[in-house]
């Protein structure tokens, strides 16, 4: 059964917390990964790979640059989840 956007957000926040130490509640839909959450490109790659494992999606490297905000990642995962 497909996960809701809220469930995806919660899962993504866990991954971000694990990788960066940021509190999960900081990870909100309107936040920019680089500007607001201070996540660099190396951390972003780890987050993407872990999100692929967690949500059963494939996020191509070309797509990652379009995922500037948390809501972009949540929406990508919601529409591509298996």
């Amino acid at each position: 059964m497909a996960l809701s956007e809220q469930e995806i957000l919660a899962g993504l926040a866990e991954i971000v917390n694990e990788e960066t130490g940021l509190e999960a509640e900081e990870v909100q839909m309107d936040k920019s990964f680089t500007e607001d959450l201070d996540i660099d490109s190396l951390s972003m790659m780890t987050i993407v790979v872990n999100a692929e494992d967690k949500f059963g999606v494939r996020i191509p490297d070309d797509e990652v640059k379009n995922l500037t905000h948390v809501k972009d990642a949540v929406s990508y995962i919601a529409t591509h989840q298996g």
């Binding site: 694990e18 990788e19 960066t20 130490g21 190396l42 951390s43 790659m45 780890t46 790979v49």
Partner: protein, 419 residues
């Protein structure tokens, strides 16, 4: 123009930090060493039996980094980097977090092997899960200068972040590099030391293959026994030792506590054999002589030596010959100790940890004992401190710390007491 002669820029030790097999901090480590407690134990990891390792014990870190660092710091640093960060932060706080211009603050933290856990775990990841799953921070985590870089980032040190790599002399060379930087006027404060995290099945198998390790699996705490007739090799340890070194002028101006002076550095290379030290100890003796003359002292001024003494049959005798060669008739007046009997051999961190123990011996005027010395090898005619710690006399004191490494590297440091 700044006067950069050594007499005008003496270097002092103002902060100490360590995470070792016997303690999670420098004071804990010192307390354990003076009490003669061993950090050697049987390894509990599954890989020991899985790979049928011929040696089943080591001296692992006393305090889990997860108890000290943030989870994310543990995740993003190889264990060698974690240990360096822990020790550097302790040393920095112990020094009173000196106010210093970032461009005048340096780092020199050596490592013998680098991020071997990271390299090999990511090799497993590559084989099992493919290239996309290899951790993007693999390279900065496996590079030997990763720990120095992590400390430099942590403290905002911009005068240079160096990592001498000289096997088991790396940590001592870190101290030497710091001394050179401060004397040359390149920095006022340098966070210096060594770190190592090589308790990995490959390293154990490799050192065992060259018969360098003790095989005393049935009695691990008796395995590291420098100078004893029954010694049969070293015990692998891990951890980090870090000092804050500072120009005396800078330390005095801020009213810092001074543990001791780092007054002399001696370095040589044997050009004899890739792993074996030159058996007559000529190169090692030259390093000690240089370290003492660099301090403006005579060999007769030296009251204490923290020896390299790894507990190998050949190495301990060669160092003894070197000490006789350097000190001649004064040899019998020197209180010698071999603290690897308790900590095991921290490889690239050994020289740093033992330098720190030398400083504390001068500061507390107490030489820690050598453990497991039941019957001294007759070829080793040194005054070795055993049983319990031995008091050093009042007044001005000087001590030498030796660190030798594969590749024929010899490093000696001379410390003198603060008063």
């Amino acid at each position: 123009m700044t006067d950069t002669t050594q007499t005008s820029r003496r270097v002092v030790v103002t902060g100490l930090g360590a995470t070792t097999p016997v303690g999670g901090t420098a004071p804990q480590t010192w307390e354990a060493i003076v009490a003669g407690r061993s950090g050697v134990r049987t390894l509990e990891q599954d890989w020991v039996a899985e790979h049928e390792l011929p040696v089943t014990f080591a001296a692992p870190i006393h305090t889990d980094p997860l108890e000290v660092l943030k989870k994310v710091e543990v995740r993003r640093n190889d264990p060698s980097g974690q240990y360096a960060l822990i020790a550097a932060r302790e040393a920095w706080a112990d020094a009173g977090a000196p106010e210093v211009e970032p461009e005048r603050l340096g780092v020199a933290i050596g490592s013998g092997i680098g991020g071997v856990h990271t390299l090999l775990s990511q090799w497993d990841t590559l084989k099992e899960k493919g290239p996309r799953r290899v951790f993007p921070l693999t390279v900065p985590m496996l590079m030997p200068n990763g720990p120095a870089a992590a400390v430099s980032l942590d403290l905002g040190a911009r005068a240079g972040a160096h990592c001498p790599v000289s096997a088991c002399a790396s940590g001592a060379e870190g101290m030497g590099q710091a001394l050179t930087m401060i004397r040359a006027g390149r920095a006022d404060v340098v966070v210096a030391g060594g770190t190592e995290a090589a308790i990995h099945p490959v390293c154990i198998a490799a050192f065992a293959a060259m018969t360098a390790l003790s095989g005393r699996n049935d009695d691990p705490q008796a395995a590291s026994r420098p100078y004893d007739v029954d010694r049969d090799g070293f015990v692998m340890g891990e951890g980090a030792g870090v000092m804050v070194l500072e120009s005396e002028e800078h330390a005095r101006a801020r009213g810092a506590r001074i543990y001791a002076y780092l007054d002399g550095l001696g370095m040589s290379s044997d050009a004899y054999h890739i792993t074996a030290g030159e058996p007559e100890g000529a190169g090692a003796a030259r390093a000690m002589e240089e370290a003492i003359s660099d301090a403006g002292l005579a060999t007769t001024d030296i009251a204490h030596i923290n020896a390299h003494a790894t507990s190998t049959p050949v190495g301990d005798v060669a160092e003894t010959r070197a000490i006789h060669r350097a000190f001649g008739g004064h040899t019998g007046n020197i209180a010698v100790t071999a603290t690897k009997s308790m900590t095991g051999h921290l490889l690239g961190a050994a020289g740093a940890l033992e330098a720190l123990l030398t400083v504390l011996a001068l500061y507390h005027r107490q030489v820690p004992p050598t453990l497991n010395l039941d019957q001294q090898d007759p070829e080793i005619d040194l005054d070795v401190v055993t049983g319990s710690a031995r008091a050093l006399p009042e007044g001005q004191l000087a001590a030498v710390n030796n660190a030798f490494g594969f590749g024929g590297v010899n490093v000696a440091l001379t410390f003198t007491s603060a008063s």
